[in-house]
Amino acid sequence: MGWFDATFKTFGITLKNLLRKPSTVEFPAVQRERADRYRAASFALLHDENGEEKCIGCKFCEWICPSQIIAITATPKRESPFTGKKRGYAEDFTINLQACIVCELCIQVCPEDAIVMTRDNEQPGFSREDLVLTMDKLYANEKKTRLSWHTGAGLMEMQNPQRGQEKPAAAGAEDKPA
């Protein structure tokens, strides 16, 4: 009769799973291995090889963020001490991690590859100020956290290898399909 047969089968399955190794681990004592491309809701701003800040204060990331968590104050263009050319700088760069939706768009649009996400997903804090990253914390994250794989150029390369190094056109240009 259906009852006995099904009952024994059910017992068999639960017994089989009883004898399997558990598929959970005791977090946080044991951490799971994350994928190569893992991205977490935290950011770092990078310096270039001269030690200068890469961020030129173009505000593309502030514009593109769907949650509007980035706030940048840009300075007027001034001469760079390393290359001698005039370039922009960001005076103030604030990211409010509380509303980040981890969409990676700010990474993608950055023309200078200045902003990246990190692989460290545990960013607890005791107050809301701990979750708002100011410029010094962002630049410190470059050394303090493990960085994720992607940069603006990397993502561009992945999405369209032939046109990977194209500079962004001025605002208002027409969109041309491939």
């Binding site: 059910t10 017992f11 399955i13 639960t14 799973n17 009883l18 558990p22 959970t24």
Partner: protein, 332 residues
Amino acid sequence: MSELMLNPWIRALFWGLVMITGVMTVTAWSTWFERKFAGRMQSRMGPTLVGPLGLLQPIADACKLLQKEDLVPDSADRALFNLAPILTVGFALGVAAVVPFTPTMLAADLDVGVLWLLALSGLMVFPTWMGSWASNNKYSLISAMRAVAQGISYEIPMVLAIMVPVIMTGTLSLSDMVADQQKNGWIIYRLPLTGFLAFVIFFLAGLAEANRIPFDIPEAESELVAGPTTEYTGMKFGLFYMAEYIHTLLSSAICAAVFFGGWDGPIAPGLHWMLLKSVILFVFLTWVRWSFLRLRSDQLMNICWKYAVPATLALIPVTAFYTVYAAGKGGV
């Protein structure tokens, strides 16, 4: 010391304390076992943090429940609300008085042990109902209706099923029943083999009385939050929760005593056999709980009235005829 024990009041107090302490301790660690077992069966670890292998988890649970805010809803009936968990646990523990662990380790060697335990199991329906009525909560009301219907319906197969061993052994006293099984073989395999069917029905009825899956519709979390105990917090909820486990454990102990021979065993009869059999039955109960889905209220009433009651009603005359016939021919 032995003069003191001759005094019935002192003896009652002593055994009461021993039984209550023993049963509560075993219950507490049975929750640990259940969580560990359920965890492993679901491909995850159970409690691991508190103590080695999570063995101190019941203590952590007790502390957690004790420090919770004790809420009594404004529109609730205070007296009944506070009384219900106490009565539930009281009745559940009362059953422990007649469970024959060994011939000497028995709190109350009643001549009508079976009647005592059936009466207390039946009484447990009242505090469930009381708790939910006093809560003044629609979810509790629906759960309690289901629980009461289930509880009083499944008493009938329970009573009738336990008549089979009573008839076979000829006594209502639990310790005499076990002694008889030691002499004449366990009920479960005694002719005319109605003992096995009686065991299955008694076991299922015990599950239904304790509101365990597959009969746990009164406390169906996915529908009615927590059933009759929705409004209870803290240790009052802890008492309800414990009462369910106590009832389950003692059901398995009673089944072990009445159907499987209690302290009897092939070598060296004693307490260890009783405990082993109870534990095996409890493990089986836990296994059933974590493997099956629950039956709907009217479906489980169907099973009771259309299948369990007629089956037990059929078992009794068969057992009676066989017992008298075999006695007439010189057996038993």
